[in-house]
């Protein structure tokens, strides 16, 4: 089996120049080894400050690597040229946490979803583009009549669907999802989780799903990596991890998760 994403001994240290030019180093990722198998959903679970968002940024090339290697679809991303990154972004896309912040308020839905297609010169024929946009909106269960509206006209759940449509526009193989439901209303989270599960299955996506919520991870993920202070402390198939968490830290996290007593449900 090939891997969509291979991370080996990855370190990331933020460096800040303090007073009098003193260097202050803050290691955030401290030797990450992680593999995302093709067609699988890998859950990355950890508390705030453990480095899970930094890991996403490094994978996406937003933050440079301090040391170690990251291979995306077989390509080593360290020192990659802009043109090579552009090619790679056709294969890897991202959905962020807060759809109120991640969509440009001055763009219509059509512009938002078309932008990646314009950059990569895809579906440049007018009617083919129109058909494709409709198809995309359908795949995230949005009404095609929404194409010419602006983000502020939509609720949080609808905005996250738009963000997902934008991420899917280039038909990527890999999706990085950084807490995609934690900013949404409780009654809407389940809709988006179901949608992500369907899409991952239908499109054979490999997905890195970052979350702080074990319940969400159990629903969606095939494998789970638990992160703590910049390291992966446990990595196991999801059901194995929930049946028998091996590390004390995982056990502590799991026992702290509040649950609803489910009597009649």
């Amino acid at each position: 089996m090939t891997a969509a994403l291979v991370i080996e001994n990855l370190h990331k240290t933020y460096v800040r120049k303090a007073w009098l030019g003193k260097r202050v180093e803050k290691p955030v990722l401290r030797g990450i080894d992680l593999t995302l198998e093709e067609g699988k959903v890998l859950g990355l679970v950890g508390e705030s400050g453990c480095g899970k968002s930094t890991l996403c940024k490094v994978i996406l090339g937003i933050e440079p690597i301090t040391s170690g290697t990251v291979q995306v679809a077989g390509v080593n991303i360290n020192g990659l040229s802009t043109a090579k990154w552009r090619d790679l972004r056709r294969k890897m896309q991202v959905v962020y946490q807060d759809p109120y912040a991640s969509l440009d308020p001055r763009f219509t839905v059509r512009q938002l979803v078309s932008e990646p297609l314009d950059i990569h010169k895809l579906y440049m024929d007018k009617s083919a583009r129109e058909n494709y946009l409709r198809e995309l909106l359908n795949s995230v269960q949005l009404d095609v009549a929404f194409l010419d509206r602006y983000p502020h006209e939509f609720s949080g759940g609808q905005r996250q669907r738009i963000a997902i449509a934008r991420a899917l526009a280039l038909e990527p193989q890999i999706l990085i999802a950084d807490e995609p439901v934690s900013a949404l209303d409780v009654s809407v989270q389940a809709q988006i989780l179901n949608l992500l599960k369907d899409i991952a299955q239908k499109r054979q996506l490999s997905m890195l799903f970052v979350t702080h919520d074990f319940a969400v991870a159990r629903f969606l993920c095939d494998d789970i990596a638990v992160m703590h202070q910049g390291k992966i402390v446990e990595y196991a198939p999801a059901e194995e991890l929930f049946a028998q968490p091996r590390q004390a830290y995982t056990q502590k996290l799991l026992s702290a998760v509040p649950t609803v007593p489910r009597g009649a449900l």
């Binding site: 209303d185 179901n194 319940a215 026992s255 509040p258 609803v260 007593p261």
Partner: protein
Amino acid sequence: MTQAALTVQDLHLSFLTDEGALPVLRGLSYTLSPGKILAVVGESGSGKTVHALSILNLLPPNARVDQGKILYQGKNLLSMKSSALRRVRGRKIAMIFQDPQASLNPVLTVGEQLIETLRAHKRISKKTARKQAAELLTKVGIEEAEKRLEEYPFQFSGGMCQRVMIAMALALSPDVLIADEPTTALDVTIQAQILRLIKELQQQSGMAAIFITHNLAVAAQVADEVLVLYAGQCMEQAPASRLFSHPLHPYTQGLLGSLASVERKEERLPAITGNPPRPGEILTGCPFAPRCSHALKKCFETCPPLYEKDGCKVRCFLQEGK
């Protein structure tokens, strides 16, 4: 029957905006029993925070109370003079907020802030106040209290800051504690500690508490009674054990059903369709009707009243005559 710790009667509240008055609360009523924790559960925009702010009249200037009363010891807090209300705030009814780091003053030490709270309401010397402040910090589980009084909020972690906020709220032994999403900004392990702490201190002191949250699981951990708020109206109110085992309102049922479980793997989540109404949206009929799978024709025409039975209240026509 013992006197209620706090009574909210038919509270209507709206925000004045450029588009006119947007109703946020539409007739909220409940009674908080002494020594009990009432969890108010709702999604964003349901009015849960606004209702909490209205109790101590901390509303933003564009909010207007249209109707209703909030009674504390027989007096209406909404019509109280600000000087009188100041004696209630903090001393009788205290509040803790969502983001502890933002609620503390960054340029004063934790000790100074605690002492200020104590000395604003009690006639005590600085030395006594200092001693009491240290005791309070110890009580909320902060070690080396004497030393930490000298520190600034930025030297405390989020969980520790929330402990300081709790200490400050409990400083004057209030009758009622209002906690507005006190653990939302915290990690799960810290959340579990803080919930335990609040519950413990509440039981020791016998105060009543209103616990506002969007998280049903959190409500299940602490509450004696749960009120489910949707679009500014109470949809269901029941003792916690009853609400979680036998939810009656389709909205409560849907919410509980749609939660992913950490205890088992589900193939699909039974999601509620659609989106919650925007604050101020004009609604005729039941606010949940457009998303409800049991909705009848009349649900879209008239809003059902709250049906009461065995100490449970449900706003749903399906409960009519039951």
